[in-house]
């Protein structure tokens, strides 16, 4: 990440959002809202003094998943790139109560700027790569596991934070009381994945991270570990070997999806049908960890719509071809990488990111794009400007000229499907090589041939 931050050809726009994109491959114009971080990026050195001195502590719902605190002026996490802090205006004492300004006083470079406002940037780009990632599944949705209800039911991300030496517990795995180490821990796989009620797909990464959590939690607490799984999916280089290693450690693997977790005598009892034993069992544990699955970003549909691509049935960005073209989309110049396309682990995401970058580079190197020969064309004399074709086009390749009140096809974008020609009520838009005249002539020929056949 540091390399990206330092690269002369890469401009990082963090704390920013794309609001609008127009144009086509090679000629996109992107409007970006750069949010006011109340810190002058030019002056800030990222020394962190402001963060240290800030008197206001806020529960960090994002990086510390509600288990730790941050300041009102903060960096999302210690290794964030660029290392610039942001003032959380909803909690900052100056913005809420009008006094404090301590960060301004302590800043050695005078980088704090309370008057900063959102800025809108217009950027010209040739290609776009969408790598917007995923949202973790909200474990509260599965009420029978009691997350949020029973204190000692944790999500995998919470345990992940506890395992971190700089995390809220300083690297100790503790129950919700913040003191006791668990004696027994149950890890439940496929929470929100492979479940017709929530997400039918496999989230792919949970088996491996659950094994990792079992390994680390056992290493820290010496607790008895249970893994409740449907199928152990450890496909990947050296993954199966790790699974084999865990089998030799103090981990019990139980094949079955738990039906519910209930508290009993200060413990959590996990009810499950052990498929190997073929009977219902109840496993009492001190701590239950829910291995939450991956979900498309909550705003994936809007982002897809904005960039003129589509989402598949599960809500992930749809690729051009699942096997032969996994990083391209149906919109030329827009590529996807990582979990935005579907659940995948780090090696796969890295490979996809590199692949998408290589695809963009090859486009840049070519300097020109090949367009379809059979594109649609508008007869402007006949166009009544109803806009039907603009709506029909799957590629947003038709623009509406407001002053002339007619539609115009952007040939670089048109793929020649002819949906516009099918929709045009005044027959002003035609598809080259598939015009109405040509199709009707073909039809007449076909009917005449059949007439002969029928006559015989």
């Amino acid at each position: 990440m540091m390399d990206v931050g330092r690269h002369p050809n890469i401009t990082l726009l963090t704390y920013s959002e794309v609001e609008e994109i127009s144009g086509y491959v090679g000629n996109f114009t992107v409007r970006v809202r750069k949010r006011a971080r109340s810190v002058d990026e030019e002056k800030c050195t990222g020394c962190g003094t402001c963060e240290e001195k800030c008197p206001r502590r806020v529960v960090d719902q994002v990086f510390e998943v509600g288990m730790g605190k941050r300041k009102a002026i903060y960096r999302p996490f210690a290794q964030a790139v660029p290392p610039l802090p942001v003032i959380d205006r909803d909690n900052c004492l100056f913005f809420t109560k009008g006094r404090c300004k301590l960060c301004e006083k302590v800043c050695p470079t005078g980088a704090i700027d309370y008057t900063q406002e959102d800025t809108i940037l217009e950027i010209e780009v040739g290609n776009v790569i969408l790598a917007t990632g995923y949202d973790p599944f909200d474990a509260r949705r599965i009420s029978q596991y009691g997350y949020g209800l029973y204190p000692n039911v944790f999500t995998s991300l919470e345990v992940e934070r506890m395992l971190s030496g700089s995390g809220p517990t300083g690297g100790r795995v503790l129950l919700r009381d913040g003191e006791t180490e668990p004696q027994s821990v149950g890890i439940i796989h496929c929470v929100g994945s492979r479940d017709e009620n929530y997400n039918p797909y496999c989230s792919k990464v949970c088996c491996m991270y659950s094994l990792k959590l079992a390994h680390l939690v056992h290493g820290k607490t010496d607790a008895r570990m249970y893994e409740f799984y449907i199928d152990m999916r450890t496909a990947g280089k050296a993954y199966e070997e790790f699974y084999k290693r865990l089998q030799k450690e103090k981990v019990t693997f139980i094949n079955g999806r738990p039906s519910e977790i209930l508290p009993q005598d200060g413990k959590l009892v996990i009810h499950v049908e052990d498929k190997t034993l073929g009977r219902q069992i109840r496993v009492p544990v001190d701590m239950a960890i829910l291995s939450v699955g991956l979900e498309p970003r909550h705003d994936a549909q809007e982002v897809a719509h904005m960039f003129g691509i589509s989402c598949d049935a599960d809500g992930w960005f749809k690729e051009k071809h699942p096997k032969l073209d996994p990083v391209a989309t149906l919109t030329d110049g827009v590529f996807i990488a990582g979990c935005a396309q579907g659940p995948r682990d780090i090696p796969d995401s890295v490979a996809q990111g590199a692949a998408a970058a290589a695809r963009v580079l090859s486009f840049i190197r070519q300097g020109e794009v090949e367009v379809e020969a059979a594109t649609a064309v508008v007869n402007e004399m006949m166009c009544v400007g109803c806009g039907q074709c603009v709506q029909a086009c799957p590629y947003a390749a038709i623009e509406f000229l407001e002053d002339a009140r007619v539609a115009r096809v952007v040939e670089a974008l048109c793929k020649g499907c002819g949906t516009c020609a099918g929709a045009c009520p005044s027959k002003a838009i035609t598809l080259r090589h598939f015009t109405d005249r040509q199709l009707i002539a073909e039809m007449l020929g076909a009917i005449n041939v059949m007439e002969e056949i029928v006559a015989v």
């Binding site: 029909a392 590629y395 027959k427 009917i447 029928v454």
Partner: protein, 150 residues
């Protein structure tokens, strides 16, 4: 009347608009797999089922087709992403309107056939031809019904 019909040799003429990427390839597969289907279908290749305007279908009926098929990719499989979504909305409306014009709605068929469904294509064409055989030639229907109020 129907007795009359069955005695006469009548081969329905079918015009099929098949999308290039799924149904046309499906027809190719049917051929390559040596599957038999009636020769009553004459295929017109279109890039996408979304290209087929209702006017084209009506025109086919006017020019002497006894039946018209529009076949495209399954929803979600469209080569052009969402071209067939248009077909899915357009064609049922057209089918409903056909009865109003005096053409039996059974003479029109819109269906999804993928490139791997050669068998389904052959079966669909077979069934459709059979349906049309049980109907009189369209020309006769139209001549007869010309005087009747709708």
């Amino acid at each position: 009347m129907s007795e009359n019909m069955s005695k006469r040799t009548y081969e329905p003429r079918i015009i099929g608009f098949l999308c290039n990427w799924c149904s046309y390839a499906g027809a190719d597969l049917a051929g390559a797999s040596r599957l038999k289907y009636p020769p009553n279908l004459k295929i017109i290749r279109v890039p996408c089922s979304g290209r087929v305007s209702p006017e084209l279908v009506i025109r086919a009926f006017r020019e002497g087709a006894d039946g018209v098929m529009v076949l495209g990719c399954h929803i979600g499989d469209c080569h052009y992403s969402t071209g067939n979504h248009r077909t899915a909305r357009r064609m049922p409306v057209l089918k409903a309107l056909l009865a109003f014009t005096g053409i039996e709605p059974e003479r029109f068929l819109a269906k999804w056939v993928s490139a791997s469904e050669g068998e389904l294509l052959a079966e669909t064409v077979g069934k459709f031809t059979e349906t049309l055989r049980h109907l009189p030639p369209l020309q006769e229907v139209l001549e007869q019904g010309a005087g009747d109020p709708p």
